[in-house]
């Protein structure tokens, strides 16, 4: 979308994050994805009369961690409220949430877009409980066509943190950058597994378009049902275009909630009956106020890990790596820790970064595994970098060793021995191979002699192949040139 036109897009994002505590928010049922339906439920999360919710201290700690990492103020006093609504995904007919006194207020997240840093304000971070999971039986799975609904309350009561941004986001691209940075931050904090496809990170967006420079916001539309960062970006691009076109055509926009249809690639209005709620919030009488001890808050602050932005700055500075590699390596705690461990074990940082962002990333992609799920360790990487650096194995041999380590997990030294990857740097042994290659390829040899020097690459390739990748390519080239130029 052009940025020099008469209109600008204003976006605010609301993210819900399921915390990775062992138990639920207000009861001791396990907080675990994928259990058989209604097996992680008790009187509290089923809303049985007389049951008493008691907040999980770890969940409060995690919410404070998130607040501190986002530069929020931790409220000296905050309350839980009941958010009343008639929908069977909460058996109590209300959700315990926070309302006018949230736990964390007023922070920010810096994101990078096109090499520029943009500061996105954070309005609030509050704690609540997740809802149960509803299945709508029927042929289409669409709510409106189902005759009845089925409820699984395993997820009801799972600790949920809501992170609300200021309407500071100006494009779909900035929204993607914000979500990517937020996700990396949450991962570094160790408070959630932030898997959008499993619903542990969910996002809704408020979008409006206004005349550039206007103080008033345009008509606000809320978009729901986006389950990947990519679909948030697509939905926002669609919605931005739809609203701009309506403004250009003079069609009035209505304030409404729209549903993102991933397959159709468009947003569709939900009928007003489905979201016309009056939540009648009131203080949860069963839970006394939260007044976190300042000493506890400072203890949590002191325990915060290095955040992705800090880590990127340090990597760029300490290891002299290009920005694109820094983004990949410092993009997740897993990758950053792996890289740093390999460097600690003696690997040259630039070489280690190249192996990780190219060959290792390629293998992981090809086999669709996460780094943590692969057999490759920082020790493998450090050995690989060292052996290639020393010339003990060629880089082709290194790639072969990495693939073998990826598949079997054996040590690089062992793989090199077993597969005979040690470079042949013996002039006599290699000379014999070179002679064979020249004898079999008189054409290319003649081309070289008549001035087409580039053909040497082909001949080196033949030597490498014949030696099973074990030849020292530098030595092979020297021997080839020597023989070709002396007419041998």
């Amino acid at each position: 979308m052009a940025s020099n036109d008469a209109h600008e897009t204003v976006i605010g994002l609301e993210c819900h994050v399921e915390l990775s505590t062992a138990t639920k928010m207000f009861c001791g049922c396990p907080n675990e994805f994928g259990a058989p339906p209604n097996t992680h439920v008790c009187e509290v999360c089923l809303g049985h009369p007389g049951s008493l919710p008691v907040p999980n201290r770890k969940a409060v700690e995690y919410a404070i961690r998130i607040g501190l990492a986002l530069g929020c103020e931790i409220a000296p006093r905050s309350l839980f409220h009941r958010k009343n609504y008639f929908y069977p995904d909460m058996p109590k007919n209300y959700q315990i949430s926070q309302y006018d006194l949230p736990l964390c207020v007023g922070g920010h997240l810096d994101v990078e877009v096109d090499g520029r840093t943009r500061r996105i304000g954070i309005t609030r971070v509050h704690l609540e409980e997740d809802t149960g999971k509803t299945v709508h039986p029927g042929t289409t799975g669409r709510i409106a066509e189902a005759e009845y609904a089925l409820e699984d309350y395993n997820r009801a009561g799972v600790p949920l943190v809501e992170i609300v941004s200021e309407p500071d986001v100006r494009s779909a691209e900035e929204a993607r950058a914000y979500l990517t940075e937020l996700r990396a931050t949450l991962l570094a904090l160790g408070v959630s597994d932030v898997r959008m496809e499993e619903g542990s990170l969910r996002c809704d967006a408020n979008v409006s378009v206004r005349s550039r420079g206007a103080a008033e916001l345009g008509t606000k539309v809320e978009i729901k049902n986006m389950n990947s960062i990519r679909s948030v970006e697509r939905a926002l691009l669609f919605e931005e275009e739809r609203q701009r076109r309506a403004l250009a055509e003079g069609t009035p926009l209505v304030q409404e909630t729209r549903h993102w249809d991933e397959d159709a690639g468009r947003t569709l209005p939900l009928r007003s009956k489905e979201y016309a709620f009056d939540y009648r919030y009131f203080p949860e009488p069963d839970i006394p106020p939260l007044e976190p001890d300042p000493a506890w808050i400072e203890e949590i602050r002191a325990s915060l890990p290095e955040l992705p932005a800090e880590r990127r700055a340090r990597f760029a500075e300490a290891f002299d790596l290009p920005p694109a590699q820094v983004r990949v390596l410092a993009g997740s705690t897993e990758w950053a820790d792996f890289f740093e461990e390999a460097v600690r074990l003696g690997a040259d940082p630039r070489a280690a970064a190249n192996w990780m962002t190219q060959d290792l990333a390629g293998l992981l992609n090809q086999h669709r595994v996460e780094l943590s799920g692969s057999k490759v360790t920082p020790a493998h990487l450090a050995d690989l970098v060292r052996l290639v650096g020393e010339g003990t194995i060629s880089s082709a041999g290194g790639k072969a060793a990495l693939e073998e380590a990826f598949a079997k997990g054996a040590s690089v030294e062992q793989i090199v021995e077993e597969r005979g990857l040690r470079q042949v740097s013996d002039v006599a042994a290699l000379g014999a191979i070179v002679d064979e290659v020249l004898a079999e390829n008189p054409g290319p040899a003649e081309q070289f002699r008549s001035g087409k020097e580039g053909v040497i690459g082909f001949l080196v390739g033949q030597v490498m192949r014949r030696s099973g990748g074990a030849a020292n390519p530098k030595l092979a080239q020297d021997l080839l040139r020597e023989r070709l130029l002396t007419g041998g």
């Binding site: 009861c27 001791g28 049922c29 396990p30 058989p36 339906p37 201290r57 299945v135 007044e291």
Partner: protein, 96 residues
Amino acid sequence: MPVEIDIEHVARLARLALTGEEKERLSRQLPDILSHAAKVGEVAAEDVPPTAYAVPRSNVFRADEPDECLPHDAAMAGAPEVEDHRFRVPRIVEME
């Protein structure tokens, strides 16, 4: 203190289908109840901050340690109907 109540709105929020007679009666009774509760305001002094909690407690927490869940059958015992180990409930969207 006179209180205006939109009885139709309140009934809809509570998902109650009231007859005309009930609406008329409750429209008279509800303001009485609210006026009664509002009497608290008459004794509230400047030095008493508003609160939703009668007991001066805060920070009541539990440790993040698992407790026993209900056995599945017991959990489902209160369900109006069960299908596929889930609570079967009426359709959700209100059609009018």
